[in-house]
Amino acid sequence: MAAAEADPARAAPALARPGGRRELAPGLASFARSGTGRAGTGLAVAIVLFSFLGPLVYHTNQVTVRLNLASLPPGSGHPLGTDASGYDVLGRLMLGGQSSLELGLGVAVATAVFGTLYGAVAGYVGGFVDAIMMRVVDTFLAIPSLVFLLIMVNIFTPNVWIIIALLTMLSWLTAARLVRGEVLTLRTREYVQAARMMGGNSPRVVFRHLVPNAIGVIVVNATFTIADAILTYAALSFLGLGLPPPHADWGTMLSNGLNYLFDSYWWMVYPPAIMLILTVIAFNLVGDAIRDALDVRLQGR
């Protein structure tokens, strides 16, 4: 049952709107009704609130190292214990969540912008330019991501912006391919031809007609990118190539905590692991639900 049939009052004005929103509106309604989509969104919102509003309610020292408080088990004053530097684990989870989420979001936005531009241009111009642009993408895809990061992190002293740039250099490839594929099918549609015939120049056709209609693919890819960026960065910090100590994030917390796993300091391992896993699950669920909502073939099944 398509969303448009279920709620004609909502779908009717949507059909009159130009560009991508016409395709998005029924999709959004079906997204709102999907259980996994709701669960994912709820989880993501909860995690964002925990990380950004949590520190306002729950004040902890995350600045000075206090070795007399190191590695305390969960108890009064420290609901999740303290880590090897004496930081409160619960407070650090909130702080770490901020940087993990910011990192994921930064990579997703940069990927969406760059990948969309590249893919749209390649798909719209086509021919020789497209062939060259896609070989460049293939070349970068053939470099294993972790190897690329290993080399680059040894070249540059990593800070947050460099990490975001490096992770974006890996993830824009998929985005560019997806958008190109979408644009290739869209450019033959009548409304695109009409826009060109009425004198719309290339940038106008690309930005007013092609990109808004490919927005579904872009958004879905962006949600997956958030999850992937957080995971890839965790792997990087496990290899000891993450950001230096004052910086806190779940990946670093988890990899540091793993040193103490066999000392049964479980509170340093499982809380960041669970947060990391929940976050990745949340964004993957949201992405999956949006994709299902936008996929006309699956609607009504």
Binding site: R135, V136, D138, T139, F140, L141, A142, I143, P144, S145, L146, V147, F148, L150, I151, M152, N154, I155, A227, L231, A234, A235, F238, L239, G251, L254, S255, L258, L261, F262, V269, A273, L276, I277, L278, V280, I281, N284, L285
Partner: protein
């Protein structure tokens, strides 16, 4: 088909050349001198200039690149700065071990993922499907190194079944002589791909189950088991074949992590050590080998697609 193949191989060659250029530039971006990072901060100017002239590092970049290409054409990957051994020997020692690790884990992942995907498709939206979906989502969302540690904690520390470290034998025979030590690295790497393989298998099996020919096969009285193994499996395995080819880079990334955790003497570990010690010949050689393997992998997936599915005929398109 021949035209298509030629075109694909041509693309692959272009990609490999591009790969070499990109990696070469990337590695030579290292700030400061390579000599200093290899020889240490106390190196005298004389030793540095000797190092630079020995390895041709004071020549312009394009000359170094052409020299490297010339060496490659003779099967010479250069000599490692740190280990002072030919890179080709170092890689040749490790490639068989990586083939064992990656091959075994991919086979294991497929052996579990294919029946799992079909089961989920058949029992779609029932409790079993939801449980397995939850499991594969969790697996997919877990950092590789974390479940490697969970496996060690469970099977080595608690149960004492499998050793936490891979056999560090230098020969392939020595590696295979201790199969118990291989279990955890292989399982770790298999779990990396299991989640995505089974998701693909599930959605493609759902599509196949909705086809008319499945209904016909059931209607003419074929038993369910036969329909699933003959018709559903063969038709729905196609996207997974492409998936296996395309997921090669992520399997390699997983291998770097697994080799680091279990101290498995493969190319991932070699590369990790080379990256942290600026051993450029090793980095170039390994990345080249893996890049070529990736390109060949996706080419092989395309060809396998055509072989398995007689409906796919590549035209001149």
């Amino acid at each position: 088909m021949t035209g298509y193949l030629l075109r694909r191989v041509g693309q692959a060659v272009v990609v490999v050349i591009g790969l070499l250029i990109v990696i070469f530039i990337m590695i030579h971006l290292v700030p400061g001198s390579i000599a200093r990072s290899v020889l240490g901060v106390r190196a005298t100017p004389g030793r540095i200039s000797l190092f630079n002239s020995t390895y041709g590092l004071n020549e312009p970049l394009y000359r170094q690149f052409l020299t490297y290409l010339g060496q490659l054409a003779h099967g010479n990957f250069g000599i490692s700065y740190q280990l002072q051994q030919p890179v080709s020997t170092l890689i040749a020692q490790r490639v068989p071990k990586d083939i064992v690790l990656v091959g075994l884990s991919t086979v294991l992942a497929l052996v579990i993922a294919l029946p799992m995907g079909i089961y989920q498709a058949v029992h779609r939206d029932r409790i079993g499907d939801h449980l397995l979906t939850g499991a594969s989502f969790t697996l997919y969302s877990m950092p590789d190194f974390f479940f490697a540690f969970l496996l060690i904690a469970a099977f080595s520390v608690q149960l004492h079944i499998f050793p936490p470290e891979a056999p560090s034998a230098s020969s392939l025979g020595g590696l295979l002589a201790d199969p118990r030590a291989l279990v955890l690295p292989v399982v770790t790497l298999a779990l990396v791909s299991l989640a995505s393989f089974s998701r693909y298998m599930r959605s493609s099996a759902i599509e196949v189950l909705a086809q008319d020919y499945i209904r016909v096969a059931r209607a003419k009285g074929l038993p369910r088991r036969l329909v699933l193994s003959r018709h559903v499996l063969r038709n729905s395995v196609l996207p997974v074949v492409t998936m296996v080819g395309l997921s090669f880079p992520s399997i390699i990334a997983g291998a770097v992590i697994a080799e680091e955790v279990f101290n498995y003497p493969g190319m991932g570990l070699l590369m990790y050590q080379a990256a942290t010690s600026h051993d450029i010949p090793i980095l170039l050689g390994c990345t080249l080998v893996i890049g070529v393997a990736t390109v060949v992998g996706s080419l092989a997936a395309d060809i396998a697609y055509a072989v398995i599915d007689p409906r796919v005929r590549y035209g001149r398109g």
